[in-house]
Amino acid sequence: MSALKNANDASSASSASSSKATTTTNPASKVWRLPKDIDTDNLAPGAYMKLPVSEIAKHTLESIRQEFASSVKAGDVIVAGPNFGIGSSREQAAGVLVELGVLAVIAPSFSGLFFRNAFNLGLLLLTCEHAELIEEGEHILIKQETKDDPLLGKHHHFWLECEKQKNLQCSSIPDFLMQMIEHGGLMNVLKSKISKASTSLL
């Protein structure tokens, strides 16, 4: 089950949906393949929580994949098994991935708390039932289409084009969450709301 119960079925069934142009989010991204149940202590180990995110990031996944933090490149993606991000509310678990330039995490399911934190920090999470078909080192494209639906409102439909798998469908994401990705997180959304509010008062 997706952390956000999603509307994929409803959106594809709705004939009233109007689609906008398809966009590709990324040049082909390299895949780091991780197992299921990646927890927040794997991502942001408790012993380093006193430090700023830039320092915690050096220890990301060191308990299971020691070379990750030093070798991951901006634009790479993580593809993992179910239950990614279980554990603590520490948002640094998502923050370190943003810090390291990870473009997106793709998994069959996420911890709900991690899901919220990731979008709040501008990290794209894609819930993909068949994510585990994707292999280590593959290069994948993330494709996106914006839809307007009379019931669901504006939302974003995602699918993946991989070297070995084509057209892997992901759960769609409501527009208010994609706004966070586009703005680089909730902080920037709040900033723009506050500046709009103060402009409208002038």
Partner: protein, 441 residues
Amino acid sequence: MTYATRSDMGVKGTHTPKPQTLAQKLIAKSAGVDTVSTGDIVTARVDLAMFHDSSGPRRLKPMLDSLGAKIWDTSKVVLVLDHYVPASDAQSKQIVQITRDTAKEWRLKNVIDSEGICHVVLPERGHLKPGMFCVGGDSHSPTGGAFGTYMFGIGATEMLGVIVTGEIWVQVPQTLFMNWSGQLSRGVCAKDMMLHMIARLGMNGGAYQAVEFVGPAVRALSMQERMTLSNMSAELGSQVGLIAPDQITIDYLRNTRADLTDEWCGQALAHWYSDPESQGVRYEFDASTLSPQVAAPHSPANSAPIESYGRERFNVAYIGACTGAKLEDLRAAAKILKGRKVASGLKLLVAPASAREQQVAKEEGVIKCLEDAGATLLANSCGACAGYGFNFQEHDRVISSTARNFKARMGPASVDVFLASAYTVAASALKGELCDPREYL
């Protein structure tokens, strides 16, 4: 999964109010509407926001300052210092200092400093009651659900959004009813129920939906035991872990706050429950056949009945955390340890979850039982459970009453942590190896 067999019995053509789960009623109230439907995304007004020294001021202040914004209502904020206290090194001291300085600058009215763990001191100080919608800057915030409060954990940036706007979005969850029939045996408690549920559903089996604990075995639990169920909803991966209020809830609340009228209590009991016709997924459990449960490293979902384990030796036994060191847990441990000594070569560490509860335990003679048996008392804080300060050492083998045994959480990756109830931890401390507490009861 089996879907509820109860269906909406409303007669077609007549107006019947839409049956609502407890979760739906709580969200509807906070969103200012009569009813909500599963899947709706709504904006909720927040009645209380709790954060601590790790998730709180040190992260919130720079963001709040850069926005040039103010806290929407300081009377609705509770700050607890529990993660980095007592400060053991320069960095911890700095974090604690920033927290205290910011509390003054923000003129926070509710600050609980080094007096216990947030999820325990919050209800202890009367901050929670049925019908409230609350957020906490900590993953064990679902503990509040034991009081009929819709409470869940959020990260620091989302907390910033809450303290600036007083609002948060929530998607109305489905309710997973955990129905416990029967009666627990001696030496078996809420912690065992929870480990069993996590083993059955998995650590994300709650799928960020609402869990509601129901049935006679839940009704029979004290408030503190109910808090253990709601607390470990976090390890089930649900957003909240609710228990509808009853007379036990009201009695607890009346001990913590004087302002609850008979009329208010009556209304709370008459409204905050799941309508019998409301829809959800139902899981059935039998308390009568439940044994003490133990979770092997490195996941709470690795739980199994104690009978299924072979010999497991330990050099540390830890009774701590909001999950496993409340007054009831201390009493449970004392029942086992009274008049006995822990095994030689084993360290028994006890970090009571709150200073007030520790005082009660002292008055009851519980603390003396623990100390006479050889326990070392630690501060009323998160301690080794958070892994932020005091940690276990290389190759320690630990049995612990806490909530999580992730690899490298409570010390180096070579540490093995087994999770169990305070009863089982105490019994194992006596033997120096995994031991069924029923041997001592």
